[in-house]
Symmetry: C2
Subunit: 443 residues, 2 copies
C-alpha cells in the first residue's frame, strides 16, 4: 500500500487535462486514499471537472477524494504536490494579440508571456508559505522561462513536464519499426530537443532515417495528408536534421529557424498543406480539436446517465504527472523526461537554465542522467539563441524595463526598423487585457 | 639600461603602422640595442619601410637594428615579440566582396574573416616552433575571433591591441573637460566596449554627459560637421547609451544594433551627413585618408634629402605596442587596454573568449584588472549576440562545415529567405580570391 497524498491542481478547469489526471490516479493503486484539490477561477468549469472526477472514481471504485475551490491558497495548503496547468487569458486573448501584431509586420505574432510568468511565480511564492516541501509540477507553457524563473526566484522544487519527446514514436511508426524495440534519448530545452540516441534492437537506427529520407521521404510528403499535429516527419524536420546532424523531436520541428515561417506559402512548403501546427490553418485545426474534446466532456457532464468510463476508457494516459508522483512517493522508480535546472547536465549551458533531460525518479528525488556536450553547431545555431530569447523575457519580466521589451522586438527577425518595433510594443501594451503589463513597464 | 630584444613585425608593409612603431622604439631608451625584423610578402613596400626606419633611427641617433625579409619563418626565429599587423588581401578585395554581397541584399557586405584567421593561426603555429616563449601582439582585426582562436589552438601568449578605448577623450573634449583630470574604464569585447567608469576630478562624470545630452546635444548634431572618425558623440552613440545605460566607446557606436544601419539614409540619421565610419561615404573617406598618409610616406621615401623626423616629428604615438614591450622587458609597469582570454575577469563570459579589459603589465606579465559583472541588459542586448557571431565564425573556420557558413548568413538580420542566404554564400565563394575558402567548405 502506498501513501495518501494531497495534490493541488491549479487551472483545473482545463477539463481534458484534469480528466486525464483522474484517469491516471484511478489506475494507480499505490496512490489510493489520495486527495485531489481542483482549483480554478472559473466556477462553472471547476464544477464540471469535479462532477466528472467523482463519477469517474465511483465507476472505477477508486479510493480518491476530490476538493474544489476558487481560492488558490486553500488548494495549496498542506499539498504534497502542486500541478500548475493554468493558461492565463486562454486562447482568445492570444488570437487578438496575434492579429494586432500582424498589423505591425509580425506574422503569427510575438508573444511576451508576462501573465503566465506572473502566475507561475505567484504560485511558487504561495507554495513557499503554504506547502514549502511540496513538489511543483509545471504543466503549462512556457517551460524554459517559467521553470527557470521559479527555480531562480524561489526555493520550491520544480519539475516541468511536456509530451513532445514522444515524437520519437512517430519516427518509429513512419519507419515501420516495432515500438517495443526502440530506445531513444532527446535532451535540450523544452520544445527544442534533439535525438542524440536512437536505437532499434540495440543498434543505431539513424541509418534507417537516412535511408527513409533517401528513398521514401519524397513520396511520403507527396501522398501523406498531414494534420496539424504531423510535423515530426515534415520537410522542415528533415531540413533541420540536415543542418544540425541530430533529428529534432516533438515540437522542435515547429521552430528550427525563422526561415521556415516567413509566410503561409513558405510554411506550406516545409510542413505540407496545413502549414504546420503554428500556421493560421494548423492552429485553427488545433483550437477546433480542443473545442471538440471539451464539448465531448461537456456532453458527458450534462448527462448523469452516461457511463464516464465508457466514454473515456480507463487506459493510462501518456502524461508523466501521476507516474512521477508515484515514483517520488512510493519509490516506484522510473525514467522520465523532465525540465529541471541544468546544473552541469549539459556542459556549457549555465547551471540555472532549466533544460529538458532524461532523469531517474524514485524516493531519493529527481536525478538527471548526465547528457554531456551537445554538438557545437547545435549550440550555436539553435540552443544559445533560444536561451537568449528566454533570458531577455525573464529580464524584461523581472525589471519592468521597457527597453528590454523593445530589445526583444528589435532582435526578432521580422523587425525592419526601430519605428516598427516601437509601434508594435505600444500596440501590444494598448490591448485592454494587457493593461497590467503596460503599467509594469517603464522607460 | 634595458635589454636588447628582437621584435618581428608581420605585415610590416603597412608603412603608417611601421613608422609609428619605429618612432616609439626610437623614443624608448630602455629598449636601445633592439632589433626590428620587418616581414612582408610585398618586397617594394618592405623596402620602403626599411628605408624609412633606418633614416628615422639615424636621425634620432637611436641604437636600433632593422632586418627585412619576405620569409616569415626567418623573421620569427629568435624573436622575443611578434607584432602581427597583416591584413590579407588588403582593402580592395573587401570592396569587391562587399559589392557582390550587396547584390544579394547585404548592404555594406558581410565579411567572413577566413584569410585573416588562417594567417593568424599560421603565425601562432610557426611561433610554437620558432619562438615558443615570445609574446604575440596581435594588431589587426578581427581581435575577438583571432585572439580567441590563437589562444584556444596554440600555447602562444597573445595580447590583442586596438586604440578604440581612447574614444573617452572625444567625450571629454566635447564636454570641455581637462583630459588630465579624467579617468575611465571601458571593458567588453574589442569594438564593443562600454564605459563602466567615468570620473572627472575624482567624481562621477556621467551626470555631465547626461547634462550635455539634455542641453547641448541637439545643437552639436545640427552644427558640428563630423568626419568619418567622429562617431563617439553621434546620435547613435547617445541612443545606444539610453538603451544600455553605459556609454559605448571608440568603435562601439559604429555597431550597436542592425537598426542603425539598414541603409544610407538611416545611417545619416544616426551618424550625421557622412553616415558614420562604415557607410559608403565614411569608408571612402577612410580609404582616402589612408592613401593620403601612404602617399606622404612614399614622397618622403623617394627623396633621401628630406628629414624624416621633420616630416614625422618624434612624438610618442598612442599605440600601446612599444610601452607594453617595455613593461614586459624592463618592468616599466603600466596600465593598458588589452585583449586577452577572459578567465573570469568578466563573470558569465566563458573563460576562453578573448575580452578587452584593463590590465597591469610589468615583468610578471599581463594581469587583468577584475572587471566584475556587466549589466545584464548589456550582456543580453549586445555582448552575447556578439560572442555568438564570433563562435559561429570560429566553428565555421575550424570545421570547414558549409552549413555553419550558411548559418552565419541565416542569422544575419538582412536575410529574408534561405534562398537569399544560399545564393550569397555561393557568390562569396565564387570570388577568385576566395577560391581557397570555397575549397575549405564542404556540405
Amino acid at each position: 500500500m502506498g501513501k495518501a497524498i494531497k495534490t493541488a491542481v491549479i487551472g483545473a478547469g482545463s477539463a481534458v487535462f484534469s480528466l486525464g489526471l483522474v484517469r491516471d490516479f484511478s489506475l494507480t493503486e499505490s496512490l489510493a486514499g489520495s486527495t485531489i484539490a481542483f482549483m480554478d477561477m472559473d466556477e462553472e468549469r471547476l464544477e464540471r471537472v469535479h462532477n466528472l472526477a467523482r463519477r469517474y472514481a465511483t465507476e472505477m471504485k477508486a479510493d480518491l477524494r476530490f476538493e474544489k475551490t476558487t481560492d488558490r491558497k486553500k488548494a495549496l495548503e498542506g499539498a504534497d504536490f502542486v500541478i500548475n496547468t493554468a493558461l492565463v487569458g486562454g486562447h482568445e486573448d492570444q488570437e487578438t494579440e496575434r492579429k494586432v501584431l500582424e498589423e505591425h509586420g509580425y506574422y503569427r505574432g510575438l508573444h511576451f508571456p508576462y501573465h503566465q510568468l506572473k502566475l507561475m511565480l505567484e504560485v511558487a511564492r504561495d507554495m513557499e508559505k503554504l506547502c514549502p516541501d511540496a513538489w511543483l509540477i509545471q504543466s503549462s507553457n512556457p517551460l524554459p522561462e517559467g521553470c527557470s524563473l521559479m527555480t531562480r526566484e524561489t526555493n520550491i522544487k520544480v519539475i516541468g513536464l511536456c509530451h513532445g519527446h514522444y515524437g520519437y514514436r512517430n519516427i518509429a511508426k513512419v519507419l515501420g519499426l516495432d515500438l517495443n524495440d526502440v530506445t531513444f534519448q532527446a535532451p535540450g530545452l523544452n520544445h527544442c530537443i534533439w535525438m542524440t540516441h536512437f536505437e532499434y534492437r540495440g543498434e543505431d537506427a539513424y541509418p534507417l532515417i537516412d535511408e527513409w529520407i533517401e528513398t521514401k521521404a519524397e513520396k511520403y510528403w507527396k501522398t501523406h495528408v498531414p494534420t496539424f499535429m504531423d510535423n515530426q516527419m515534415s520537410r522542415a524536420a528533415v531540413d533541420i536534421y540536415k543542418m544540425i546532424g541530430l533529428f529534432p523531436i516533438g515540437d522542435t520541428p515547429r521552430a528550427g529557424g525563422w526561415w521556415y515561417h516567413t509566410d503561409l506559402e513558405t510554411k506550406k512548403k516545409w510542413y505540407g498543406p496545413v502549414g504546420g501546427f503554428d500556421s493560421e490553418i494548423g492552429w485553427a485545426q488545433y483550437l477546433d480539436y480542443l473545442r471538440e474534446r471539451v464539448n465531448h466532456i461537456a456532453r458527458v457532464v450534462a448527462d448523469p446517465s452516461v457511463s464516464v468510463t465508457k466514454e473515456f476508457p480507463p487506459v493510462q494516459t501518456d502524461e508523466q504527472q501521476v507516474p512521477i508522483i508515484d515514483a517520488l512517493v512510493n519509490n516506484n522508480e522510473g525514467r522520465f523526461q523532465v525540465n529541471i535546472p541544468n546544473n552541469g547536465v549539459i556542459p556549457s549551458i549555465p547551471d540555472d537554465v532549466v533544460v529538458e533531460v532524461p532523469a531517474i525518479i524514485n524516493n531519493r528525488g529527481v536525478q538527471a542522467i548526465h547528457v554531456g556536450k551537445l554538438p557545437k553547431n547545435l549550440m550555436l545555431h539553435v540552443i544559445i539563441p533560444r536561451i537568449s530569447i528566454m533570458e531577455r523575457a525573464l529580464e524584461a519580466f523581472l525589471t519592468g524595463d521597457k527597453r528590454i521589451l523593445l530589445s526583444i522586438f528589435l532582435h526578432d527577425y521580422r523587425t525592419r526598423s526601430v519605428e516598427q518595433a516601437e509601434a508594435a510594443v505600444e500596440a501590444l501594451l494598448a490591448l485592454p487585457f494587457n493593461r497590467d503589463i503596460a503599467e509594469h513597464f517603464k522607460w
